[in-house]
Symmetry: D3
Subunit: 225 residues, 6 copies
């Protein structure tokens, strides 16, 4: 039985309309989401190039919500300061790209930001054993990072549960976020497994409905978990 933490919705702008990004972000804010995620891809760690500090700045000017910069890039140590200056509140790096994970977590904190670490679907949670107590957030990828609109990988549910258990046992106050394939069907599953922050891309920005309607649909799906 999971502790009664509040569940937060975190729209990812990866699926938003970039010709009117400010508007899209404000729509999410008005719909009452908790944070905004910005998916930074460098075409090296993942097979896509997306956006960088300039986009973080543009989002920063458009909302007062906390911003997460999810760095799907190799050598993220060279860009922590740029994303901090651009206005990110939480900076998330991938365990798979950081042999010096402890140093980069220090670097993020010295920049005055919250530090998160993301794990690919195939990376076991105990790779974080010695760093977990210093983290503000762990992001369990529930798809392979690189593109919006992918299908949720159900094999990640036991992994979410395993991490929640460790956080509970070690009494750590660390957000457990999930990202990938989150919609009204999968959201209840990941929350039951132990996630408390849910990134949603195409479920929020999809062109078929308003952002408000999309957020409301996700909220209702979570109401009875």
């Amino acid at each position: 039985p999971q502790s009664p933490v509040a569940i937060g919705l975190v729209p990812s702008i990866l699926s938003a309309d970039f010709s009117r990004l400010g508007e899209q972000v404000r729509e999410a804010e008005e719909a009452g989401v908790q944070r905004i995620q910005i998916d930074v891809m460098d075409g090296h760690f993942v097979p896509n190039i997306t956006m960088g500090p300039l986009i973080v700045e543009a989002v920063r000017r458009s909302t007062s919500l906390p911003l997460e910069a999810h760095l799907m890039i190799t050598n993220p140590e060279h860009y922590i300061e740029a994303f901090a200056r651009a206005g990110a509140d939480v900076i998330i790096v991938h365990q798979e790209t950081c042999p010096h994970l402890h140093r980069i977590v220090q670097q993020i904190k010295e920049a005055g930001k919250q530090a998160g670490v993301a794990l690919n679907p195939s990376s076991p949670v105990w790779l974080l054993e010695d760093i977990l107590s210093l983290l503000d957030l762990v992001l369990i990828m529930t798809v392979n990072p690189g593109f919006g609109g992918q299908e949720f990988i159900p094999e990640t549910l036991p992994k979410i549960a395993r991490l929640r258990q460790q956080l509970t046992e070690r009494q750590l106050h660390c957000d457990l976020e999930v990202d990938g394939g989150i919609n009204e069907h999968t959201a209840p599953l990941v929350v039951r497994a132990g996630a408390n922050l849910l990134v949603a891309g195409s479920a929020v920005y999809n062109g078929r409905e308003s952002v408000a309607a999309a957020v409301e649909r996700l909220r209702r799906a979570l109401a009875f978990t």
Copy 2:
């Protein structure tokens, strides 16, 4: 004496307001510019991460002007198709990142696009000797690529002239574009040296004046060259 080619203005969105990108692009189109340039940086070839195919798509939906994707990335061969599909009309790669420059030029053309090659300030033009006849555009960088708002490097003027001379002598129909530090003071210099396409970033998008006014100012500067 340079042939009387028409001079084209190519605003770079690197300095635009990304919260209302569609609008910014339409302002440039209405001001009568010839093309739009999209500065793609991967944080590996250059020390900045900017934008990728998603932004090209958003610009594509906002204008009918020709779009140039300037790929300041390593291993660009992995991304030609993505930028072609996203709607770029001209794809520009850097000589410094392409040991197989001939293959990538073929790849761009097979994708049905115009092929350009960019040269850093320190890269001599004769590095293009054996590929020049196949190119639609050469981009001479007049600053070190990576950031908007840098100062024009005057040492690049003889290099522009040297390339113009080669194009004339070999009777090649290839655009000679310059990028970096272009404003009303430097624009006449590069045109006199031989450039016929001028990328302008902060001279067009600067928050001090309307895009229309900025473009008009650049045009006047060029009127008597």
Copy 3:
């Protein structure tokens, strides 16, 4: 007590005579082996360059046995389709080269092939915890990959046993293959520890005896395990 799975012999052509490869492969097929393994090395992940898709094609034309392509290469994601088209039935990548292991397993399956993951001697089996249920085969290296004719590393036996235990406990139908230093002395050891597919290179192709005699010798060694 290990489940009574049939033990399969998988000759590796790394030690075969490449001037008459078709013949060498047919000799193995006639000797009744289960599969053929093709050792692909790129000179980057391992300190040797061996062979690629062209050799897989040549082997494919020479036998109807299932073919395993063991990719000892970095960035294997760029070559999955080439090896699938060339005729490999099982494609094995190394955990150490795949930060996005889940994606490449999906990629192999989407190409219609069986997916295997190899582990170097020093890589613990629980690195596969979150991907194991999706695999068709795990290959435990019993030498350091790179060359034929190396000596079996006995420290890998408890590791084989540990993986077999996990497969049994989680009721997973996944082949447990070993590769390196397998001969009539070590074959019984790895089978007792839990392996069910045994790659053999110089024990099968050695120039001292016929392939048929070599295979028979290995079979007898396994008869009483």
Copy 4:
């Protein structure tokens, strides 16, 4: 007017049948070719993985012709000794992969082998200005390296001529080899431009005719140049 050097034919085994490589090589030897070329690709410098020292050894055992190892690999310095030991007589590295080109030429010569340098279609010949007097062979690629069966790039003809002129002016005894798209139509062109060694892949090994017939066809095409 080019000096009356004898023209040599160098079949590349890239297009041969690898299931009976020894036989294919002997067919070429019997047809009277001058050398055999072995195309080594590592999947990093070029987008294909082909073969390594083991194949050189197999070819070595099958013929007494001189063997050329054309190393289309990054960091070739790690593999010079392996290819020398395997039986290559000429070792060719790419200018594009060797910032320390002078050292690797020394390394090849210290291994007792002839040293060649290959240039991609887009690499100008004067990149070899300071090393030319030490080379036994320059290989001008007339297609982008990576695959057999590509079409000849006519833009390379002036480049061949430019190199021939330099060799003549500087009175250097250095083979000028070409590789890519060589057949009965292009062979006379490259010879007239100044090449004296012609690598031929699919023109020699093509499954439509015997190796002897293919070689004879190429010879006739060259008879009247």
Copy 5:
């Protein structure tokens, strides 16, 4: 309760005065330390470049103490022989840089030297599960490698204890060394947690006191643990 192993002090010359290195090393030897550590950094694995085999040779000529070469470099396999020849007695590589950790341990032993493996603060000890029985030394980094004078990370204490427990349970004779932020306050903590070799840099070489006095101070701090 930890087994009564003798505690060894290992000054790192990273903080020594390099203009009189021989003298500084002799001062440490006279103060009765057990070994000398040489911190090799390549500017790639860690953000600093320090020293290489030439410095090991100079230290070798200055003392008869055992020398440890701590290789904070990528691709250490290319430098094992150089450091062995230069006079290192123990060669320590990082787990994070060695996908083929087992091979490099063999390589160190074949060079006649003791083999150690270092772990960054964020790397869990069970990454060494399958290699531990072959090691002479494990080095637990208690700061992020790269610079002298950093502050001890207390989160590493449970990790030291976890490794000591494994060594005891598996009855392995393997040194457990710690490096980073060791001084009279932290030395007792790491010894109680299970370390038996303590690297000390700025605590030994600090310009405020003689090496003898510094060593004596550390010894006193350890006297009552």
Copy 6:
């Protein structure tokens, strides 16, 4: 006929005794040399690891002579500030490692230091055509960088002459330095070809004679050029 510039001797400490570096540097200063060179190698650009900023600091404290840091490293842009802070007066990077050569020259000058560019033996001088007017020094390598004690490559003499001619024609005040195999036999040759700064390693530090005697011997050899 070369302009009557004064010839400067620049001992490289690569061949010095590192156990008493301060002393060795002072001996050179007393012998009247013009500068000291510090050979920084990272084991990536060249096959040796030597020294970094800490050694520059130690040399800085030992002499008031100008110090040159010769960076034989990849990605030198990350280390310019460290070498400037450590006390280097001239910072030399390799053309072969700097696709953004112009930026790094700016970076060196912004750090208040003189900027030099080194060329490997096989790199033609016109690769510097567009940057030459901004340089304080060009270093022509007369051996392949990596080790002390190598033999002078005579093929570099015409290259030195070619660069001297360009400097003269373009009236540039830029030092022309040579490095590698310089001794009393080769020193007159490089000076006649146009060099004005001569790096000497084992000719100055060789253990057979005093530094003063070695320097005197080189001076005499130069007296009548």
